[in-house]
Amino acid sequence: MIAFNKYYNRFNILSVSLVIVSLLLLTFKGLNFGIDFKGGTLIELRSTDSKINVSSLRDNLSQMNLGDVSVKNFGNETDFLIKFENNENKNVIEEIKKNLDKSFGNSFNFRRVENVGPKVSAELLRSGVIAISVALFLMLVYIWIRFEWQFSLGAIVALFHDVIVTLGLFSLLGLEINLSIIAAVLTIVGYSMNDTVVIFDRVRENLRKYSDIKIFQLTNISINETLSRTLITSVTTLLALLSIFFFGGEVLKGFSLAMIFGVIFGTYSSIYIANTVLVRLNVSQKTVLREDKN
């Protein structure tokens, strides 16, 4: 049996610091919102001429008075991603096309064009925030129906930890937040909950079974009993996600990365956050039996 409980304190300190750092990052550095949430234009180009590179493309576009243009390679040397804020310039894509054709010859294929107006991006951001809030709220309701309040609190603390730290990591690394990241965060919420609930189920079962074991020891027993399941499921989910990350194409990279972080944090938090909340609230057999009587 692994003594997970030996490290409860240390990992709690680590998690609290991670959450604080993440919150600081989110407040001061903020998130790198993509055009879905900030508005603007995104163009994915593929060139047939290998001589064209990021800087020549950037030089060309900077003459077009588009404001702050970001140009970078996307996946490989001949694919480019261009992003800029589009201030009401309606036919800008047509102009860019003409301009590039003039300067480089017809050597570009416009693979993807996305243009999101300021009104739509504000709405998308709002509905994303609402979606995550509703998800957290529903999980809260579900767990509240299923378990005693101490367990609910533990699960929710773990959940917030996972979401905040994942977003903090995205802020730290400057990774882009777009619609698919919202989907990833929601899936993380589901996954983290799922992991926590499986361990809690076992804790509650053991609480009924043993009246003489303290919660500090009991959580450790429960973690160990469910450990192989926790690991196997995490591994299969990670295998699937790594496969999306490496082979699923550029579009899904951010999504799968967020999910990979989320699964790792989710697994960690159900062991080291959710359980320690039970320990700190001094949950005992009475907690479970009182509920049963009701």
């Binding site: 993807r112 979606a131 299923r146 799922n194 609930v197 076992r202 499921t233 299969t236 490496f246 899904l252």
Partner: protein
């Protein structure tokens, strides 16, 4: 938990087979209407354009209030009520009257039978709101009035947008209302939406008006620029003809001048007016104005009584074709703005399909190998369930002809990763049970029973997330939540029916064997 009746086994087999056949129908062509269903590919996979258009209703509201000015004046004139100082600003019409008439005006606006201010019985609301302060009146559209106005301009705009897109002849466009002032257009297979965008961006409000020098005339005049920006003209506000009078418009090569023109023919009313205007206005210039810009302003040389004519204006064949198309399909009630556009080229779509399929295949193989190494014979059972899970999931998507997006494929891959969770929970529990229980059958039975709540919990939490995503998410994200959500049901089915059935068959043949799992 371990008993299966014969009937049930047959039932499970039949259901599985049914879904497998549907899943396979994506690969083969069956000669059967019911069987020959296919999953739709989303715009991100097959390439295409997604446009969200917003109707700018402000000009419509202003126009309606402007028209109301005349109506109100005439209406109260009959009742001997004097109204003065009409002013229109900020979508509010204001006017003044005297103390004696105040109540009459307010009563007329408040009456449920009022012709001036229609009352919507259904919504218990008038079309207009009126506020009075010191004989100073302010009239504006009520909340319900605005909603009605928006709905009706949305209906009209939808019809015009559909006509314009149909004229271009793209395959299977999807044109839908969104809210009460937006229109969603999905154009599969279209990799260059420039032309459609420029066609949808034009209101196509066509008028024929005389060019004047007299800015004071009874209708007023305005200075308008020419389309090509070369000159300006003062054009009367009196409309001789408008686009509504057009029956048809076609691009044509005018061999005489060797240029492309748009020929048009007018309805009876239009032909009559056109004839009259051209007979009285010989020598004058008639401006052809489209969306506030003059296309051309030819001098009238002869009376045109045939009800047909042509517009020249230095067109290319393409621009003449587009103008004719716009004139044929009619004017939009209000300007449309493209507030969101997402276009994916067909080759990127194909790349995404390939990448998605490779990721699915590799993820699938990795998970299957891992599970086989972990559980050996029960790993094979889990894997059979997993493969069937995939087939059933694809089968269900096929039956409903659901739309598969790239995030949708990610959802399928994620389902593969998470689907084994239920079997893992069961098998781990059985292992624990076997430590204290020597009878294989009893251990397996209680393993299934005791793991059930955890499995349900796990799946309900994921399902909640998927449902929220489905209702809050847009486009591709919906595709993700769809596959993730359906994946939960197929997982539960394959775990509790297929994997369990196979487990039961194996265990009942090896009742006495030790270290079974």
């Amino acid at each position: 938990m371990l008993y299966f009746s014969k009937l049930r086994i047959i039932f499970i087999t039949l259901i599985s087979l049914l879904f497998i056949i549907f899943a396979l129908s994506n690969l083969f062509n069956f000669d059967n209407k019911i069987l020959n269903k296919k999953i739709n590919l989303g715009l991100d996979l097959q390439g295409g354009s997604y446009l969200l258009l917003e109707i700018d209703n402000d000009p419509v509201i202003e126009q309606k209030l402007q028209n109301l000015t005349v109506t109100i004046r005439n209406y109260f004139k009959e009742k001997n009520v004097r109204i003065t100082n009409f002013k229109l600003s900020n979508q509010t019409l204001s006017f003044t009257s005297d103390e004696n008439s105040k109540q009459t005006i307010l009563d007329e606006f408040a009456s449920e039978e009022s012709e001036l201010n229609p009352y919507y019985q259904r919504f218990k609301s008038h079309q207009l709101d009126i506020v009075e302060e010191n004989n100073f009146f302010k009239v504006s559209f009520s909340k319900q009035g605005i909603i009605n106005l928006k709905t009706s301009s949305q209906d009209q705009a939808l019809e015009i947008v559909r006509r314009r897109i149909d004229e271009i002849g793209t395959n299977e466009p999807n044109i839908l209302k969104r809210g009460n002032d937006r229109i969603l257009v999905e154009l599969p297979g279209l990799d260059d939406p420039m032309r459609i965008k420029s066609l949808l961006g034009k209101t196509a409000n066509l008028t024929f008006r005389f060019v004047t020098n007299d800015t004071e005339g009874s209708f007023g005049a305005e200075k308008l620029e020419f389309e090509d920006g070369t000159e300006e003209a003062i054009v009367s506000k009196r409309i001789i003809l408008s686009g509504e009078n057009l029956l048809d418009a076609q691009p044509r090569m005018d061999t005489e001048n060797n240029e492309t023109v748009v020929t048009f023919s007018l309805d009876r009313v239009g032909a009559k007016r056109f004839g009259k205007a051209t007979s009285t206005g010989i020598g004058k210039r008639l401006a052809i104005v489209l969306d506030g810009k003059v296309i051309s302003a030819p001098v009238i040389r002869d009376t045109i009584a045939t009800g047909s004519g042509q517009i020249s204006g230095g067109f290319t064949f393409q621009s003449a074709t587009d103008l004719a198309l716009l004139l044929r399909s009619g004017a939009l009630p209000a300007p449309l703005n493209i507030i969101e556009e997402r276009t994916v080229g067909p080759d990127l779509g194909q790349d995404s399909i390939n990448a998605g399929m490779i990721a699915l295949l590799i993820g699938f193989i990795l998970v299957i190998l891992y599970i086989f190494v972990k559980y050996k014979i029960f790993g094979i059972i889990t894997n059979i369930a997993l493969i069937l899970n995939l087939f059933i999931l694809v089968g269900i998507l096929t039956i409903f002809e659901a739309t598969l997006t790239l995030p949708g494929i990610a959802g399928i891959i994620l389902t593969v990763g998470m689907a084994v969770d239920a079997n893992v929970l069961i098998f781990e529990r059985i292992k624990e049970e076997l430590k204290s229980e020597k009878n294989n059958l009893i251990a397996f039975d209680s393993g299934y029973t005791k793991s059930r709540t955890a499995i349900l919990d796990a799946n309900i939490t994921t399902l909640l997330a998927a449902i929220i995503l489905f209702f809050m998410g847009s486009g591709p994200i919906k595709g993700f939540s769809l596959t993730l959500g359906i994946g939960i049901f197929t997982t539960l089915f394959t775990v509790y029916f297929i994997a369990r059935l196979l487990t039961v068959l194996y265990v009942s043949k090896n009742k006495e064997k030790e270290g079974l799992i």
